[in-house]
Subunit: 229 residues, 2 copies
């Protein structure tokens, strides 16, 4: 084997690494030290060959005839995903969803720390959610200058989502997760992903319409960071 870890991890692999990570954490929590690709595949609901190929992109960390060392894999995947450092998160928009996100326990688990909350409604400014005080969205740049923000979560109504995105970008935010049901444009250097409830439901209805038995085989939600100028 010439070069084990050939750079450039495929997008599809990247989107599965967090899934592997989660299952590996569960295994580690039950003191399992080794795992085969078959077992891990089962836990993650994917094909074993896919697991092996995915993991091979991190370099070769398995032992033939035995399997993978759980701890070793954990640290490799964590490093690859950048989870060895802390990621300050800001949430913009504290309606129902933003509120829920702000209270979400489970961010912290993987190094995501909510450091700032913003809303355009002055009535909400000053409120404290999960120990963080809500500031006005006009203070976004100022707040980001004090405390850097790596990830911005957009939970505002669609019509104002683009301007919020622009402000986040101006404030130096390098990753954005968009919950607003609209297409956003950001500079190429900014990573952008979206979560859209209504789109998910519509995709579900498409497949459930096809009648029982016609739903095709498993396939994960993937998709790299998108960027649009």
């Amino acid at each position: 084997m010439a070069g084990p870890q050939s750079r450039r991890i495929p997008d599809a692999t990247v989107s599965r690494l967090p899934v592997y990570l989660r299952s590996l954490l569960e295994l580690a929590a039950t003191n399992v030290t080794m795992v085969s690709s078959d077992r891990l595949a089962e836990l993650c609901g994917v094909n074993a060959a896919k697991v092996r190929k995915d993991l091979s992109h991190l370099g070769s960390y398995g032992t033939r005839g035995v399997g993978y060392d759980v701890e070793l894999l954990l640290s490799q995947i964590s490093r690859e995903l950048g989870l060895t450092q802390d990621w300050p998160v800001a949430i913009v928009g504290l309606g129902n969803l933003g509120h829920a996100l702000a209270n979400y326990r489970g961010f912290g688990v993987r190094g995501f720390r909510v450091v700032a909350l913003f809303d355009a409604d002055r009535a909400r400014v000053g409120e404290e959610i999960g120990g963080v005080r809500v500031r006005h969205v006009d203070d976004l740049a100022a707040a980001a200058a004090e405390t850097p923000i790596a990830i911005g979560i957009i939970a505002v109504p669609a019509p104002v989502a683009q301007q919020v995105a622009d402000r986040l970008v101006d404030a130096g935010v390098v990753s954005i997760l968009n919950f607003a049901p609209t297409v956003l444009s950001v500079p190429e250097r900014v990573s952008l992903r979206k979560v859209d409830l209504s789109i998910e439901l519509q995709i579900l209805t498409f497949y459930s319409q096809r009648g029982p038995g016609e739903v095709r085989g498993p396939a994960e939600v993937r998709g790299p960071a998108e960027a649009t100028a």
Copy 2:
């Protein structure tokens, strides 16, 4: 042209149809009657050739030299996605997220109607959210027998998500949207999709780590319905 609408729409196309739909609705709202693939592509943040190929899977509904009729496209896509009928939705788990989802206005827009809410906490049973009373999750089967449920949204903690999924399946639910951070198994006939906040964040950190300028081109979140036995 032999057979315009060749059946079997590609998964990647299916996941983009809702995006086209949304932009077309906006165009229709501003009384635009025709749209070119270029314009639609721009609005949706995708490539124009992709738009044309996607739409060609619905049959050929464009006029050469002119573009597509907005209303016609709307009705074609709506029909394809099954949005001409109503889809009764149940939400299980009314913590922060479930609460936010239950209050979400925007379901109704596309024929999704929240008809039932369930929680395992007896203290929450009886509460009314968005005009729907919360019932105990033990009543799920009974409630579904009265009022059919097509789509189940799982917003419970990961450890109990599988048993909730099992109950939904037993109650005849044919589509499930899972917000719990765990892998679920459902019979092949049931469509399953997942939304996982922490996975999204981890994917973002991967790409933002690669440093500015290295984020690869646009690509949408796709993925068909998955099913695991």
